[in-house]
Symmetry: C2
Subunit: 323 residues, 2 copies
Amino acid sequence: MIRVGINGYGNLGRGVELALTHASDMEAAVVFTRRSPESVTTLGTPVAHVDDMGAYVGKLDVVINCGGSATDLEAQGPAVTSLFNTVDSFDTHAKIPAHFAAVDDAARAASTLALISAGWDPGLFSMLRVLGEAVLPTGSTTTFWGPGVSQGHSDAIRRIRGVVDAKQYTVPVAETVAAVKERRDVELTPRTMHQRVCYVVAEEGADLAAIERAIVEMPNYFADYDTTVNFVSADVLAVEHRGIPHGGQVIRSGSTDDGVGETITFQLDLDSNPEFTGSVLVAAARAVARKAARGQTGAITLFDVTLAELSPLSEQELRAHYL
Amino acid sequence: MIRVGINGYGNLGRGVELALTHASDMEAAVVFTRRSPESVTTLGTPVAHVDDMGAYVGKLDVVINCGGSATDLEAQGPAVTSLFNTVDSFDTHAKIPAHFAAVDDAARAASTLALISAGWDPGLFSMLRVLGEAVLPTGSTTTFWGPGVSQGHSDAIRRIRGVVDAKQYTVPVAETVAAVKERRDVELTPRTMHQRVCYVVAEEGADLAAIERAIVEMPNYFADYDTTVNFVSADVLAVEHRGIPHGGQVIRSGSTDDGVGETITFQLDLDSNPEFTGSVLVAAARAVARKAARGQTGAITLFDVTLAELSPLSEQELRAHYL
């Protein structure tokens, strides 16, 4: 059994614990928390304070860093990697090379192995971007996100005066998706690619028109998109919008000869973004534990693992049943 | 530059040569043929007789075996692997373990590396089956093929008395595909999953009703499917059905918790089956050349390569731009 530590127990940490219940060759050995351990209720995994992590050296094959923010992960990466093999879902695009370097230094110093930026984007989508371009070098790659909840955009709405709560869905524009798949010429701009649909709970007596204007005109977040604002009650938001669905698709369209087109589409339709992300982290942790057991050290990404390393099955089983 | 030999110059060999024109780090060094070399016109690659292959030892980094049939590849695999690193698209499912073993023996004896069963199915579809199941262990995987031309079914029609020529398209049943993606309960049988649409050129005066009956009642090939037979002129077949399109999709639908579903879809829409297959073989050949340069020997499959090995880009470029 591969013994896994879960560092952090928010939505993602819970998603990792759930995913481990589906992995017959892995077990959740401990959840590390910054809160008081007795205040944390897991699905059954023992809980320890993050300050006691050092006592677990030698008892865990890999730790999955589930920090709730990029800042958490930036600190957790090198620190935890100096004790354990690790996996994280670091997703601040511009900082990935620096994070990789910091984690790589820690891993080489401690002779551990760390896989960064797993999940679905970055993660599976990244893998498919590389695969699509390796197979079809002449062409273009387009990523559509959604339909799904964007936490960042939901937070931006919540910061507007008069807003109690909000949820923002990113929705790909169906006609543009179809055009890209059919390799038709189509303009790709924020507005042609995605719509933004908002469900907003306002304070009683708030100026709804002002809130709506503040949303649709907000630079970077909404101004470049067609945005729809729906005011709803707190009850409706709680009941009809309680999930964290997401998804999207990576489309590689290329040509192999004049007038001969080929399209590769990879699509995710997820009821739960954190549970699916947790599932990817668990598969990545399996690969890390195996590679570390063979002596590999340093930092890696999903570009550096094989499918055989991600799968619990033997190479014989894979060849006999999956080719 | 990775120097590639192309063994066989039918549709697939031509697809490989075309794909190499898109790979800036690889070059087609020679085409081997069983025909008289001067009778073979390539896009520019020199042609040699297959009997002279031995003279190229040390001059090629990898040879792609493009034999036209499973029987060809079964023989080519061990023979060519005893001289060169190789890649093939062996696709007779039941014989894959035996083929792997034969190629592995030859590769170990000669200290070469051989990757078998690349292409899209087996190949990319196989990779996505393993990836889907590694990420979502609790669920089911469904493969739909088409819309596309099935060579085997087209050949079966051509063997019927009174048939001059024919082309058979395999078409996935749209409602069943939608049901699988939406994780609805649906019966999966040959008939509910795929339709067969045939375009047939009959001899003048042939008994069309008898031909149609012979097709739709043919066991294994057609009897278990809803089959449509269209009689067309030789001209229509030549003009409107001259392509070799294909494609399909692998759908992994799983659950991460009670009532929480996640779906991964990988879809191919190909204007040219052999050109796309050739493109996958070329990416696989890049990985083989690199792994062989690091001293790896024996037989492998696409389950044993990383995305970084398939891509021409450096690991730094991949991390900076594809995560």
